[in-house]
């Protein structure tokens, strides 16, 4: 997949070594364009601060990427003794947030510890687990944490249920099960407030890489909490976006995706065997409204590799 895309969009242009050779379009821009998406990207070397960006300071909708900030606040509250991560929480079958993975797809009452709910939230983007945890820590607390870290554009204004409800209401359908169908219609997609960064959970590519870099440098919380967060981000199962750009056994990829109609995101950290580590945040909106767009998913990985390749040119 990656090779096919690189062949199609990148004939003989070196994005890193000869930036002046091609006066035309930024090669990352061409990757996004040929995948039928608009892209926003920021990548930074966690240790030396070198950076690459494309519309890196424009506000973007986070979708499920907001779960990273929620996970951080969960651990900060545990550090302060406000909650116990091993505390068991009952999640009744009757009250599940939709989403198709994890508890949302399970049929029976469940009891899990807070930290295992956090695992489901990060590994398979479990919306039910996220809403249980957000209700527990409070969205004001998450925003206060973001203020404290200097991430002032990043805001968590909605939980997953509110996000999904807004899709149903804006699409004008009575039932949640009709949302997928309705959102294949470009006119419906055009009026979804869930895709408006002024309304929905939001950030910028640069603020997300700052957050990740702080987590990887043990600055966002205590070292044990940051290690626990890094562990969960490495356990995310999805191979199709950021990880697809790095199909190499000796490269570690950790990340968190976010998905809404036409919107495909992933933020994460890529770690090379020589010790280089790079935070990267990629946000895309597809022009087409089809749900299945593997080229759009893979463009996230391809563009991320291009950005990191540029950061590594000095090696």
């Amino acid at each position: 997949m990656t090779r096919d895309m690189a062949r199609g969009v990148n004939p003989g242009v070196n994005p890193g070594v000869n930036p002046g050779m091609n006066p035309g379009v930024n090669p990352m821009e061409r990757v996004f364009r040929s995948a039928g998406v608009m892209g926003w990207l920021h990548a930074v070397d966690i240790d030396d601060g070198r950076e690459v960006g494309l519309r890196a300071d424009e506000p973007v909708v986070l979708a499920s990427v907001f779960k990273v900030a929620l996970l951080l606040e969960l651990h900060r509250q545990a550090e302060r003794g406000l909650l116990d991560l091993t505390e068991r929480v009952r999640v009744p079958a009757a009250d599940r947030t939709g989403g198709g993975t994890g508890l949302a797809a399970m049929l029976d009452d469940a009891t899990l510890s807070l930290r295992d709910l956090a695992y489901l939230m990060m590994a398979v983007s479990d919306n039910t687990a996220a809403d249980v945890l957000l209700a527990r820590v409070g969205r004001e607390a998450v925003n206060a944490l973001l203020d404290g870290l200097g991430l002032t554009v990043t805001r968590v204004t909605q939980d997953c249920r509110e996000m999904l409800t807004s899709l149903r209401v804006d699409a004008g359908v009575a039932d949640q099960s009709a949302v997928n169908q309705a959102c294949a219609d470009p006119e419906v997609v055009a009026r979804l407030s869930a895709l408006d960064p002024a309304v929905a959970n939001r950030s910028t590519p640069r603020e997300m890489t700052r957050l990740l870099a702080m987590i990887w440098r043990d600055e966002a919380a205590g070292a044990a909490s940051c290690a626990a967060i890094r562990r969960l981000m490495a356990l995310q199962v999805w191979p199709h976006r950021l990880a697809s750009g790095f199909p190499f056994d000796d490269v570690a990829v950790s990340g968190k995706t976010g998905t809404l109609p036409t919107l495909r995101n992933e933020v994460g950290v890529v770690e090379y065997p020589d010790g280089g580590r790079y935070a990267v945040a990629v946000f895309t909106r597809s022009y087409g409204t089809a749900q299945n767009q593997p080229r759009a998913d893979a463009a996230i990985g391809t563009a991320a590799r291009m950005a990191i390749d540029q950061l590594r040119t000095h090696i």
Partner: protein
């Protein structure tokens, strides 16, 4: 008894496996040759040949004696040559084997460096692969060599081990030149031009094993020890090659991410190194470091496999 001369007769008989032919080659009659072999057998206390009516065959003891005898004869010849050179006032000679891909600049620096240290000694260089060097060193036809590891040879002693990490040579219109660093896995689907397994058995196997580990299994491997031929294949886009940057228009060099290939080499000799061999070794180590980009071998990093939930082994 002149043991060395008798060993010489023995070697001629082993080559002919016929006393009459061997005697003719030695310019002597058959009975005195048979007599001398018999004396050698008595001296060593073993039978060296099975003599049946029309056939002469080596015994087990005879087979074991062959390499030992060859070495002794060669070394004695070498000693005589050296001494007679000195007696005649000719310059002494150090015979050194070097790998084929050393390059003109390195070769020139090697000769100049040795000449500076030993103006009265002639350095006779022969281009040879590791396998040929091992044989020549063990048989006394070389005084010192530059071997590429891994080497499986008993009876050799080694100087310092130097290492270099080759990059990949690509045709300039190869799409991979877009990257500042290339992963082994990126090379999938391409053919490889590599030194021959006959010349470099250890390094050949080692290099291909690293390629497989990295996801590169070349469909075809073209073997050559001629650098120009290899570059021609690269230039035409037929194959990729590993090595140092080449100053050839149309060929682009890229480092391999994570330095998955480590090519090691060291000076080697048999038994005690004489003063000339010691001088050659120190000059070679210095030249390889200064002109061939080699470094002292550190602790090699363990190849790692970063686990990924979706694409790793599930059990």
């Amino acid at each position: 008894m002149d043991l060395v001369r008798h060993l010489g007769y023995f070697l001629v008989v082993t080559e002919e496996l016929h006393f009459g032919n061997a005697a003719a080659r030695l310019g002597m009659a058959q009975p005195p040759l048979s007599q001398r072999i018999k004396r050698l057998e008595e001296e060593l206390g073993v039978r060296l040949f099975e003599r049946s009516s029309r056939r002469v065959a080596l015994t087990e003891a005879g087979r074991l004696l062959v390499p030992e005898a060859r070495e002794i004869v060669a070394r004695v010849e070498r000693m005589r040559d050296l001494m007679s050179d000195l007696a005649r006032g000719d310059t002494a000679v150090v015979r050194a084997g070097v790998p084929a891909d050393l390059g003109a600049a390195v070769l020139a620096a090697l000769i100049a460096g040795f000449r500076e240290r030993r103006p009265g000694v002639r350095l006779s260089l022969t281009e040879m692969g590791t396998a040929a060097q091992v044989t020549a060193l063990l048989e006394g036809r070389l005084d010192v060599g530059l071997l590429r590891h891994p080497v499986a040879a008993n009876g050799l002693a080694y100087g310092p081990v130097l290492v270099r990490h080759p990059g990949v040579l690509l045709a300039e219109d190869d799409e991979l030149t877009a990257w500042a660093t290339v992963h082994l896995g990126d090379l999938a689907g391409r053919d490889l031009v590599l030194f021959s397994r006959e010349a470099e058995p250890g390094l050949y196997d080692d290099t291909l094993a690293s390629c497989r580990r990295g996801g590169f299994v070349p469909a075809e491997i073209v073997c050559t020890d001629r650098v120009e031929f290899a570059l021609g294949l690269v230039l035409s886009g037929t194959a990729v090659a590993f090595g140092a940057p080449a100053e050839v228009p149309g060929v682009v060099w890229r480092p391999l991410a994570g330095t998955p290939l480590a090519w090691r080499c060291s000076p080697a000799w048999r038994a005690e190194p004489g003063p000339y061999v010691r001088d050659f070794t120190s000059v070679a180590v210095q030249v390889l470091k200064e002109s061939a980009g080699m470094v002292d071998e550190g602790v090699p990093p363990a190849p790692r496999v970063a686990p990924r939930p979706a694409t790793g082994f599930l059990a």
